[in-house]
Each structure stands twice: as structure tokens, then as C-alpha cells.
Amino acid sequence: MSEIPTHIDFRANVQAVRPEMPASVQKATARFLGTRANVVGELGEARWQQLRQAGHDIRLHTLEHLDGYLALLEQRVTEAGGHVHWARDAAEANRIVLEIAARHGVKRAVKAKSMATEEIGLNHALAEAGISVLETDLGEFIIQLAGVGPSHIIVPAVHLTKEGIARLFTEKLGVDAPADPFALAAIARRTLRQAFLEADMGISGANFLVAETGTLVIVSNEGNGRMCTTLPRLHVAVVGIDKVVPDMESLNVLLKLLPRSATGQKMSCYISFITGPRGSDGEGGPQEFHLVLLDNGRTRILQDEIARQTLLCIRCGVCLNVCPVYNHVGGHAYGFAYSGPIGAILSPQLLGGKVAGDLPFASSLCGACAEYCPVKIPIPEILIQLRRRVVEGDRVEGPSAPPVIRVAAGVGGLAFRLPWLYEFGTQVLKVAQAPLRRDGWLPALPPPVNRWTLARPFPAFAADFRQWWRSRTPAGRRKMQQRRIGAVALIAAAVGLLSWLLGRRGRQ
């Protein structure tokens, strides 16, 4: 379970990454990208791009008319016998869930995987109210035992080895757990089966909310999603308002994009379509169904036309898999429930620049994420917009970076606006670098740019193209002459001024 952070220090988090962690992350991401390539290849590039564009268009259309679709969704869910609640923020969402639990005397809850409930810290709130909550997705179950947050959207425990998991089970479950994935999964099945049968309340998120029919769509492979939403008599779903899709037809596109992008499956094992509580006693399933619609900053994200595309996300995790930064640091470095490229754009918008202002810069802007995103979110574009928000501020939020950056940039920018100053600078640097220079390199630079040389040497300044170019023509040679005279005059004036000033001080 993640804590809701007060400040994310990305660099410090990176420095704390265990050296063996990137290898296990890369093994996972390489596997997912491999299986994805097979199933996307099977569809063919043309069909895949057609699906991506349609997915983008459907999601964007929904966001642009979100108020109408939310109202329709609420109407349909209510008609089907469900209850709809609206939560402006995490605190309100937790309060609503606790009230429902209290009314039903809930003591034990089982939970299917839900990023939204991670985001609001629901487990903490329930624990504080004396309700035991068991994570039932195997990866979430494991990290719950370990007391940490998820390190990948799809495989939350990918950073752990089977030996580590075996030790965890032995210690926390009091069983003799061998370091074998099959045995460990069997232990989880036995442990959780009883919990499913005894739970008073099942908690879930949703992958999609279908406005046309009031249907909750839950995609899963293990069957725990079905167990949580079928066996307890009470089902509570906490879902971001950005999960809405217009109609069932939209899922024809989105359900082709999601499993392929997430795990390289053509279809996940189970997709549940839940519309209200059970239709009759005999059917089995919950007697009561509650949907908690969560804002928690999403309406603010809608305000910016570019950044609002963050909400197109269908939580497939492919951007993590293909991101070189994520592959070298893993999920915990991003400090919140969402990691990788989607985390770098979503967390700053949910948490604000003061908390998460580091994250938009945690990217080399390589663009691989945008190439792979099944709904074509322009992630690098949004990263740049959010960098602007952090450094200069925009309509949505004021700047959170220290003003000295803007001031320094203004001074530096002067050199780029005055060509003579710029050219003078290029020549001064060639001279000034002399004490630091070793052959064609500067192995160490002064702070703050010593951060470059932490990793590799900086090339020596060597600007001489203009001279070469000018020396090719008489007009050019004349210009060179003028520049030399000008430079000498400038230096002489500077020396003269300096001598005069020092002379004056000496006389005082």
C-alpha cells in the first residue's frame, strides 16, 4: 500500500534503488514487450494503428463530453439497482466507503486490484476503522505482506524474487513456503479462498465504466476480481471519473488494445460485466452494489487541452515496459501509485507541483512511450507542458520551482539574443577552459554542471567554424578583421576600466 507522499525526491529515490533491481525489472518488461510484439504482429500494423486511433478518438470524445456521460452512467446504474456516490477527493471517498461498511457491520473485506484505491490510501482508512482488508491479486497480496507499494502497474511485485516471496510467505503466513512459483501460487489460493468465502465486503476498481448500460468492466487473469465481486453480499467499487466509455461498442476497440498492450495476451482470462447488484437471489452475486465515482484532481486535469489527454490512459503499463528510465530505476522511484511515463504525467497533476514537480523532468523525452501507447497519449508533449507548469506556471497551477531558475535563464538567454555576445562567449570559453582541459576533454566541470562529468567527460569547447567560413571569401576575411579589432577594443576597454577602478580604490 503506498503512502500519499508530501514530496517526491526523484533523484534521492533513484540513488536508493538496489543494484539488483533493474535486472529483474528489465526481465519483466522485455518479456511483456516480446509477447506484445507477437500479438500485435498477428493483427498487422495497419489494423493495430487503426485500433489505436479509434481508441484515442473514443476516449477523447468521452472526456470532451464527460459531464453528459457521467450523468447517463449514474442513471443507468441506479436503474439497475445500484447506488452511485460522488467523491471530490480521497478523504471523501474513504469516508463514503467507511460509511457503507459501517452500515453493514463489515469486519472483513477482500480487494481486487485497483490503482484508484492505492491513490486514495483506502487500505489505511479501513485499517484505522478496524476493518481488515486483504489484497487478493497475487502481486498486490505479496506487496501487502511486504508493506510496500506497487512497482509496476500490471505486475506489482516484479521487483521481488521467488526466494524473497517465499521468505515473506513463511514469515507472514506461518507456512512452510518453498521458492517455487507454483507452490507459492497454491499457498495464495488456499489462503485467499477462505477469505473470499468469509468476507463481508468486496472492493474493486474498474477498467471501464460503460455509460450506455451502467456497466462496470473488470479485466483480470487470476479470477480474484470475480471472487471479490461475486461472493461477498456487498460490492463497493471506487473508480476514477476518467474511466467512462460511451457504450459497449467502444469496448470492441478498447478490449483489443488493453490485453495486448499490457501482457501480450489476445484476451485476458476473465472480463466481468457488472450492471448493478444481482438480478435475483438465485443468481448469486452481491445483494448490494455501490459505485463511488472519484474526482481527486481529475476535473482539474481536464482544464488543460493538452494535459487532459493524460486521462485517456487505460492503465495497460506498456509505457513502463518501453521506457528506458523506468527500466533503470523501477516503479518505487516515482514515489506514488503510478510510475513510469504515465506516473510522470499523472502524479504531478493529481498531487501538484510542490509534491511531484521532479517527475516531469524524470524523462529524456525519447518518445518511445508515445509510440507504444495504445490510445496515443502524447506523453512527451504533456511532459513539456508540465515542465512549463513547474518552472513558469500556467493557467492551471502557479510555478513551484525556485525563481532563481527563471532569473538565471533570463541572463543566459541574453547571450542567445545578442549574436556578438554569443560569439564572444564561444571564444572566451575556449580560453577559460584551459585549466580544466585534458586533451580534447574536460573531465571535471564546476558545479552545478559537474553533474554531467559525474557520468562522463565533457568535450572541450572548440568553436572555430565561423573563422573557417569567413576565411574562404574576401568579404568574410574583412569581417574577421572587424571582429578581431572589436574584441581587442573590448578587452582593452575592460582592462582600462578595471585598472581605473582598482586605482581609485587604492587611492581611497
Binding site: 528510465v325 530505476v329 552545478p448 554531467w452 567554424f465 567560413w469
Partner: protein
């Protein structure tokens, strides 16, 4: 259009890659083009923009436009990121209604990265180069994804006499430069650079070719630190070679 090329030398090109700029002139003149170099150019402003300093970008951009707008012919840069920035961002920075808008639109229509200019504008892949070495190619992010040039740089290399092009594992993975990224998060940048250098060293190539000055700075520094004899070169240097 006249067969004139305005040299967009770029701030990194000017300060660190003079030989590349000279070779660019050599190749273009070999292809029968007349080169000019607008004197007042400094920097297109990209480093500011990508760092979130959009309001500070306008000044340098305006200066750049002032220098290049009155020129004739194509504007060619030894850099994908700079060419892409001018093409893509200048019309946004100077939207309709601003005095610079017309100039920005005009510029956007005639600014190119070098390999793009050769293959797409001139329709040339063979530029008369000879470079009998084992060469591997790193696909810089802006050239690959920003400008959509996946095959073009490699086609140019394949047309070089005597050159053996060896595939680079993880060719399309970012080298870790990322502009200010390399200075803000040096540990991650280094990890990415180390991975790229490892792949280059394992490729069996004598030379690694890069089309982007920023990547070249990063990879060259990494190879030097690793004590590797593999030569990092800009694509233009290989195309100018007549060994």
C-alpha cells in the same frame, strides 16, 4: 527553389563539432549546392523550451527567425532535434496574429535535418563517399521518432563504398542524453549511457555513427571513459569521407 542551402550550424555543432560542420559544407558542395551561413545565428531556443522556460524561448527564437527569414533556399542542420524544433514549435510560439507568424510558417516549410534533406529533398542516397570500415548506427530519438526517419540514415550509410553496416542491439533505445536530463538526473543518464556503450562495444563495429550532436557528445564521452578504441562519428563525417 534555388539550389541554395543556408547552414544552420546549431549551438552544439558550433561549439563542439566544427569538423562536422566543415564536412557538411564539403558534402553539400560535392552535390552541387551553394552554401551560405547566416551570420547572426546563435541557438534556436530548444534547450529553454524543453526545460519549461517557454517564455524565455521567444527571445532566442525571434532572433533566429530574424536571421533566417530573409534567406533563400533550404535551411539544413546537422541535427534532428533542432530542425524538428524550428519546424514544429516556431509556428506554435508565433501563432496566427503575431508579426512573426508568416516567417515561422515559411521557415517550417524549408528547414531540414541533414539526412532528411539528402534523401527526401534531393532524392540522393549515394553521395560519393568511401569509408571501408565496420560501422554501427545509433538511432537518435528526434531523428527516429520526431522526424520519422528510420531507414533513411541507414540507406545513406549502406551506399557508402566499402562500409559494412552492423546492426546495433537496442539501436532505438535512448542513449540517455535528453538535454537537461543528463544534468538533472545524472545517475539515470549514466545508466542509460552505460547500457548504450555496452551494446556498441559488443557489436563488433570499429565506428559508431550518430546523427545528433547531443547523442554524439554523450556517447563519445562514454566511449572515452570506457577506454574504448571505437570511434564515434557524426553521420555527416562518414558521408564526407573518401578514404
Amino acid at each position: 527553389m534555388t539550389k541554395k542551402v543556408q547552414l544552420f550550424i546549431t549551438c552544439l555543432g558550433e561549439n563542439f563539432f566544427s569538423p562536422v560542420l566543415r564536412d557538411m559544407v564539403t558534402v553539400l558542395e560535392r552535390l552541387g549546392l551553394q552554401c551560405e551561413m547566416p551570420e547572426g545565428q546563435t541557438c534556436c531556443g530548444q534547450p529553454f523550451y524543453n526545460s519549461g522556460l517557454q517564455s524565455q524561448t521567444v527571445g532566442p527564437a525571434r532572433q533566429w527567425l530574424k536571421v533566417f527569414a530573409p534567406t533563400e533556399g533550404y535551411i539544413v542542420a546537422p541535427s534532428g532535434s533542432c530542425a524538428e524544433f524550428v519546424r514544429h514549435r516556431y509556428p506554435e510560439l508565433f501563432p496566427p496574429g503575431t508579426p512573426e507568424h508568416a516567417a515561422a510558417e515559411d521557415i517550417a516549410g524549408r528547414t531540414f535535418e541533414f539526412s532528411e534533406f539528402l534523401t527526401k529533398v534531393l532524392g540522393a542516397t549515394d553521395v560519393g563517399a568511401r569509408f571501408p570500415h565496420k560501422v554501427t548506427y545509433h538511432a537518435s530519438c528526434h531523428i527516429l521518432r520526431g522526424l520519422g526517419l528510420r531507414e533513411e540514415p541507414k540507406r545513406l550509410l549502406q551506399a557508402v563504398r566499402g562500409l559494412e553496416l552492423i546492426p546495433l542491439p537496442e539501436e532505438e533505445t535512448c542513449c540517455g542524453f535528453g538535454g537537461i536530463f543528463s544534468v538533472i538526473y545524472p545517475e539515470v543518464s549514466r545508466a542509460m549511457m552505460d547500457a548504450k556503450v555496452r551494446h556498441i562495444m559488443a557489436s563488433g563495429a570499429e565506428v559508431v555513427v550518430v546523427g545528433e550532436p547531443g547523442c554524439l557528445m554523450n556517447i563519445a564521452g562514454g566511449l572515452h571513459k570506457a577506454g574504448s578504441p571505437i570511434r564515434p562519428m557524426h553521420l555527416i563525417q562518414v558521408l564526407a569521407a573518401q578514404e
